[in-house]
């Protein structure tokens, strides 16, 4: 394992450790900053401008073409061309940022603060106490200060009591035009919200300051529903077949979300009662279960969800323990297997803004696909399986501390481990890298067979060949790390069975893309841009993704862009802006849902895609 190099990004204040030779573009992505690269990182568009404040080396030829000598002297470089060889401090201008929340929330290209217009507003008021000549009712007095609002009877009582106990002052909490609380004293700065990506395998939540938009904390956990089965069909079956199944799964989920909310707030000492809004993006089954809607009908043809539009429901009704008057937003649903997470992804990437034909590939336990072509949207889903999230893989794990997130072969194996520690397992991006490298060097055949030690190509470097081991029963595995520190008492290794899981998963995604393109009457060569999203770890290498056949052949490398967890980014955007929410609703309305399994040629395309690409 090599020593990693620390890179810090300003003004975002994020730092990551990366392997020597990583580009600044890639490092920025790992830090959650997606930099604008219309050319796909080919060094031709000149958009990915950053400034190296410390650790700057000599400019590349491309840099010299793009920047003036003065700029070069000041540290300006292209992020896609600059390779990291020493510690760096880098400034990323707002104008260079792409996608994620920045695209949605930016008011302008001037680098000004992002636009924050959440439904929740807190307003501190000091009202004149009533007199005989000014006998306006209490709520009318408040209305004169904060504008018209609705309130429940409980709250009307509470406002009058609080006003009278506090000299007619206090802080009104509004959710759009509904008063949801009235707090003693000036509490207007304590105004928070939580956004969640509710995946079949993984839950990710963030805590946001609703006044500033600042992201205060992020927590990621395994979805505890995996104990009921690791894909949506098994969850649907559980809910449909067992009387209490739905409720058990719902409670497992909401209890975990509750624990995550406490974990999110713990660092900044933010209590549940100061969290006034929540947004959830999940697939159709996850959103149904979260809402206590039995997903049984999603398990039978024609796989019809109960509802479609986004929902704003009392958080308490979902069992989400935040402010007692808070509402939770759930993203609109498109079809039985294309859910709110896909809409959130469309919102986060603003796929509607791409003039060229764009494809969003969001890889979770299901792979969701969105094709945008001249203002028309098509969506479909394909069963990728949970392998890319670390499940069903012998040494699989989520992209957390100890996960191998990058694998490079030279004469031996080079690993990048999150947290720069001894590896515990493989997360999605590491898994993709590893399979790609094993295919490239011939240890795995295109049919997905891992060769036994005695079948290996003669040209293979000896260090690599030694890592291929065969059990007594003939089962072959590829060992990445020593025993002891790894996956329990065993070393971190990839098994033949793991290869099959990846083969099925990447094949399903590729087949889905081919079929969706066909449905739209397009060819992969028509694609102007391909956005790959998902929570694989941190960063997916395009070359690896293409090598294992996650994407069809024929897509130029420069057209592929990794955009991270766009489902979570969309949920955050919806939390921070009513406009963003309305835009998401509008996108959901405009999309055409394509059921791939009913298409002619479905079986053939899927069968073909079960084989890894022969070359790349």
């Amino acid at each position: 394992m090599e020593t990693q190099i620390r890179v810090t990004f300003h003004p975002q204040g994020r730092a990551v450790s990366v392997l020597r030779g990583t580009t600044i573009l890639e490092a920025a992505a790992r830090a959650g900053l997606v930099i604008e690269t219309p050319c796909g990182g080919a060094g031709t568009c000149g958009k990915c401008r950053i400034r190296i404040m410390q650790g700057c080396g000599v400019p590349t030829a491309t840099d010299e073409r793009v920047f003036s000598p003065a700029e070069l002297k000041d540290g300006w470089r292209l992020a896609c061309r600059t390779v990291i060889v020493r510690e760096m401090v880098i400034t990323v201008p707002q104008a260079s940022l792409f996608g994620d929340e920045h695209q949605i929330l930016a008011t302008s290209d001037s680098g000004a603060a992002p636009e924050i217009l959440p439904g929740i507003r807190k307003i501190y008021v000091t009202l004149a106490p009533p007199t005989l000549t000014d006998d306006a009712p209490d709520l009318l007095r408040l209305e004169q200060a904060i504008g018209p609002f609705k309130a429940t009877l409980r709250l009307i009582r509470h406002v009058s009591a609080t006003l009278r106990a506090n000299g007619f002052a206090g802080t009104a909490v509004l959710d759009d035009h509904t008063l949801i609380d009235f707090e003693a004293g000036d509490t207007h700065a304590r105004c928070f919200g939580v956004a969640f990506d509710i995946g079949t395998t993984t839950l990710v939540g963030t805590l946001l300051n609703l006044c500033t938009g600042e992201k205060l904390a992020t927590v990621s956990r395994m979805n505890p529903q995996v104990s009921f089965g690791d894909d949506v069909l098994s969850r649907i079956h559980q809910a449909a077949s067992c009387g209490s199944g739905l409720d058990e799964m719902r409670l497992a989920l909401t209890n975990e979300v509750a624990a995550m909310i406490d974990a999110l707030g713990a660092g900044a000492a933010i209590s549940r009662e100061n969290i006034y809004a929540a947004a959830f993006a999940g697939n159709t089954t996850m959103e149904h279960i979260l809402c206590g809607l039995n997903p049984a009908q999603l398990g039978e043809t024609p796989f019809v969800p109960m509802h479609a539009r986004g929902l704003l429901v009392p958080a308490g009704e979902l069992g989400i323990p935040i402010h007692h008057g808070a509402r939770a937003y759930l993203f609109p649903i498109i079809g039985g297997f294309v859910g709110g997470d896909t809409v959130a992804g469309m919102l986060a990437t603003r796929i509607d803004r791409h003039e060229e034909t764009a494809l969003l590939v969001d890889i979770g336990t299901n792979g969701e696909l969105v094709l945008s072509h001249h203002g028309v949207f098509y969506a479909a889903s394909t069963a990728a399986g949970p392998a890319f999230e670390g499940a069903r893989i012998a040494c699989g794990m989520r992209g957390t501390h100890g996960a191998i997130e990058k694998v490079v072969f030279d004469d031996d194996v080079r690993l990048e481990v999150i947290g720069n520690v001894a590896p515990t397992g493989l997360c999605g991006s590491g898994l993709i890298d590893l399979i790609a490298e094993l295919l490239a060097c011939g240890i795995i055949t295109p049919e997905g067979q891992m060769l036994a030690p005695d079948e290996l190509p003669a040209s293979l470097p000896p260090a690599l060949a030694r890592r291929v081991e065969s059990d007594e029963d003939g089962t072959v595995r590829f060992v990445l790390s020593e025993a002891g520190a790894g996956c329990g008492s065993s070393p971190v290794a990839l098994t033949q069975r793991d290869v099959r899981e990846v083969q099925l998963g990447s094949g399903a995604v590729r087949a889905g893309i081919i079929l969706l393109m066909r449905q739209a009457g397009l060819d992969v060569s028509d694609l102007g841009i391909v956005l790959i999203a998902g929570g694989f770890g941190n960063f997916i290498r395009r070359s690896s993704a293409q090598r294992i056949g996650l994407l069809p052949g024929g897509i130029a490398h420069t057209r592929i862009r990794y955009v991270g967890n766009v489902s979570l980014a969309g949920a955050q955007a919806a939390l921070l802006s009513g406009d963003a929410r309305r835009l998401g609703e509008d996108l959901a309305r405009r999309i055409t849902h394509v059921e791939l399994s009913t298409m002619e040629g479905f079986q053939d395309v899927f069968a073909d895609a079960m084989v890894f690409p022969r070359s790349y």
Copy 2:
């Protein structure tokens, strides 16, 4: 007691029994039909046109001036001029109707059906079941049939289950754009609502068909809160001083309302679950108690209500047992003692439409006053006491079966009793008549003293003089009916104490009017029209109201109009039309609340008004 004559009105299908000599105008009012009389029934404006289909007599000279010979032959007459001497069947054209719900709900003067646009709509739908090629979600399918709507999670579950159990057909129940139920089968015609006037002393409720606007039943009851005190101040005191006082009063009220709803529905076999909306108009204290808002602050200067705007709250939260998804509307509040009943009255009378200066006098336990002058509104309240509703009067009762509602003196007493039965007591209109007649013939002095038998004027007809009785302790009373059938085992009689109650009540109203006019910089001679409202019985005679000094002197008889229970009429209008509700909200916003007790000269004006007018 005289035999009464039956009069039937078409197309409204209402019938009343009246004393010989009653005008058609008066009889129509008793039947709940307020006929247009801009001239005040003077026979000069020619607006009160009706057609006598059966029982027509010779036309008056006025009729001959207004109508053509052919019209006269067809039975056309002026309602204000025609005296009833035999049974009649009368047609009342829509164009001749004034005020009440008609004014608000009429689409045009053409006599077309009134406009019914309630928030509640029921729509029967038959949806295409989903297929593989049409896999739209259940609620989207419903949305395509009925337009966009919101729904709770509970209802989303219910819709899916109901659709699937009933071949994708059923009846959607919408409250504005919120789905509140989805019923199996075609139930769209079973759509009802209830409107209530919640008075301090009297509760009146009606059941309306929300499809047609038809009034199906009316029920009137004593407010059971009278056991906690017969005016609002005693109720406020009870709530403020006793921990459980508010809740006890609230439950007494809601239990009675629940019983009234059952009584309303019993006749037409309409169940609680088919009543989807409720509207309540009450004074500030009554609305606060109904909502469980402690009215304590209404009992302390500066008498400030908790809220002002109209409220739409879940009916279940109020304890009103109608459809589980129904909302109840409560009229907006103007001030501590000018409440939603006053706004409802403004709405029902469309006081904003009067070009001339108009005064609405709504007499209940409090007398509420609204002055409309060139688009500016002033409102005030004055403590009339419950006498006009039958409380605090020895033989007082509400205007129900057995109540004396009209009293005329000639050589003896002539009575009109509701239901044409032996009299049980006196309701408000009968009480006003009686005091007026006793003042006119000198049995009561302007100071309110009832003369003893030996003090009576010599000119008094002997039959009347014999009705004045004196107890052993010198207490004088005026006897209206024989003992046995009357007020318990005693005869129906008026006591000296009763006279004092009426004196205080009518004086308070008169003083209030004088002060409010003064506040607006006007004189009673500026009044173009005076609308008298209240639930006195059925009809109040203007001459009697003026004789006892309920109104200041100097208002021409022709300018006074009795408009009935406008609080209830307003509640009905709000139930049937969202536009009416919004108009009421708008009127409430525009009104200036006048606190009479803080005005200069308040004490003097009230003291002066405690004496009955010396002449009329």
